[in-house]
Amino acid sequence: MAKVLVCGWDTQADGLAPGVEETLTLGRKLAAALGAELGLVVLGSAPPDAARVAGRHGASTLETLADPKLAAGGSDARVEALAQLCQAHAPRALLMPQTFDARLVAPRVAGRLGVPIVMNGIDVDVENGALRVTATAYGGDTHALYEIAGDGTALVCVSTTALRAEPAPEPRTPVVEEFPVDLRTVTERIRVLEPAKTEGPRLEEANTIVAGGRGLGAAEHFAWIEQLAEALGGMAGASRPLVDDGWVDASRQVGLTGRITRPALYIAVGISGASQHMAGCSAAKTIVAINRDADAAIFRHARYGIVGDCHEILPELIRAARAHRAGGS
């Protein structure tokens, strides 16, 4: 039986990484269209709930690829492991959430195997037996429909921010097995001299984000963004121009080439709402826009909006938020 595989890594201590379930939802759709079996693959040891998650999304298999070299996180080991997996199973499609690491690993696997790949996928389908992938382009300003020729393996990296995970109508109990990966010949060519150090909490995990853009007018006004974020118990973010201009550190950048966030509340101040920015926050449950320009695109994404001068509105908003926090208003 033909196979559709969904692969996840970056497993967190408390479960599968964000994006795996949304990717499983797309994988299930594709498997149904192909009359194929859905399987979940986890690089490294699977978290305890992996089998339950796989089953909830209709996967019939859960395969783990356990090798100490994979645990180290180097891309040479991951590429070789996934290449071996694809050669052994010849899946019709291998889908993975488009994490920072997947952006490198997936195209390398495609290059090693000489198989087609599409990044930024948001939908998959089958037409006359051919795989079709809808992906974002121009930072989200357009959507593009790609057709993949042939019936060999295709790789799809899924941009999961705007997708919703939907469990299968009928859960299954997946067969759990270990894929015998052989990484004896792999020696990582790239040596990490200084690992990345997460300094404090990450925007990706923030429940509330207050983000500032060019409309703030001057670097020192970013202090208001930080004060409002603090008053709401959230984190401060920024659009790319502020990072490019050196007002704030790159770790604050929300957007297509920055942080892909999904907070409960996203307050965008002085941000026009360019697609490139929205790619990093459109999954927020509630978006609030504060902008001087009533025609700014951000208002089309927002649930609530205030049209006006952020220099006048921010101090009032900080006051109101602090009052709420103190148990007032």
Binding site: P116, D141, I190, L193, T257, A274, V288, G305, L317
Partner: protein, 273 residues
């Protein structure tokens, strides 16, 4: 040391976005291409930063050649821009999709195959620099495909790089979601450059003038012996469209204090704060 920088001509993404925001972005009759003739064509911004990275290596003392290569219908303008910025060689690998009966573009594999064939035909490269992705299709797969086809390591999303003293390795600072990571990759290698590298330099007026006469070397597919790469693409763009956006924004009016209180009240009511 031979540094190859791969560059692509794209529609100005800021102009595309302005049209999109104004609701005036439209797709042509072919169903795939953007129609606005007012949108300027320029060098992909990340590729320009890749060239800037090469120039900074030279400023830091690297000797040798910076060769800039592009595939496309007519990349002469962006190649002349590269020459004005300081590229020693500019090359156009002529694989114009307009010459093909089906007008289908090259997919990532074909693009990488052409670039690899050209790199090999010129005696190889010690370092291949690319932008992290092109701002038109945002795919960003070609650098990794080049790395796999050449059998060399690939380092992505760099904000800074420096050659090691022996010249046999490159030290790269990557922008990761967990902060900066510094890695050492043996050469030859492929490195992709991200916007965090910083603003690229501008060409001087004199160099600009000089570069106007620069003619890119044109290399044909026959000369590269990779006619197969021009075969039917396996990833083919069927359609492109502008997604509809349905807003349901409630605007909170009044004086700043009033609007702020109304907003906080709504957010409390929704359980958002």
């Amino acid at each position: 040391m031979r540094i190859v920088v791969c560059v692509k001509e794209v529609l100005d993404p800021d102009a595309v976005n302005s049209f999109a925001v104004a609701g005036r972005l439209t797709i042509g009759e072919d169903g795939t291409s953007l129609t606005q003739s007012a949108i300027p064509r320029l060098m992909n911004g990340y590729d320009e930063q890749a060239l800037e990275a090469a120039l900074r290596l030279r400023d830091a003392g690297a000797s040798g050649t910076i060769a800039v290569v592009s595939i496309g219908a007519d990349p002469a303008n962006i190649l002349r821009h590269a020459a004005a910025l300081g590229a020693d060689e500019i090359t156009h690998v002529a694989a114009d999709p307009a010459d093909r009966a089906d007008r289908a573009g090259l997919d990532g594999h074909a693009t990488a195959a052409l670039l690899v064939a050209w790199i090999r035909s010129t005696g190889g490269a010690d370092l291949v620099l690319c932008g992290r992705q092109a701002s038109d299709d945002d795919q960003g797969v070609v650098p990794a495909l080049i790395g796999e086809q050449l059998g060399v390591p690939v380092v992505t999303i760099a904000r800074a790089l420096a050659l090691e003293a022996g010249g046999d390795a490159v030290r790269v600072t990557r922008v990761t979601p967990d902060g900066d990571e510094v890695v050492l990759a043996p050469l030859p290698a492929v490195v992709t450059i991200s916007s965090e590298l910083g603003t690229p330099r501008y060409p001087t007026a004199a160099r600009k003038l000089q570069a106007r006469r620069a003619k890119p070397a044109v290399v044909t597919l026959d000369a590269l012996g990779v006619a197969a790469a021009a075969g039917a693409p396996r990833v083919r763009l069927l359609r492109q469209w502008v997604p509809a956006l349905h807003g349901h924004c409630e605007l909170l009016a009044g004086a700043p204090a009033e609007a702020a209180d109304a907003l906080v009240a709504r957010l409390i009511q929704d359980g958002a704060i």
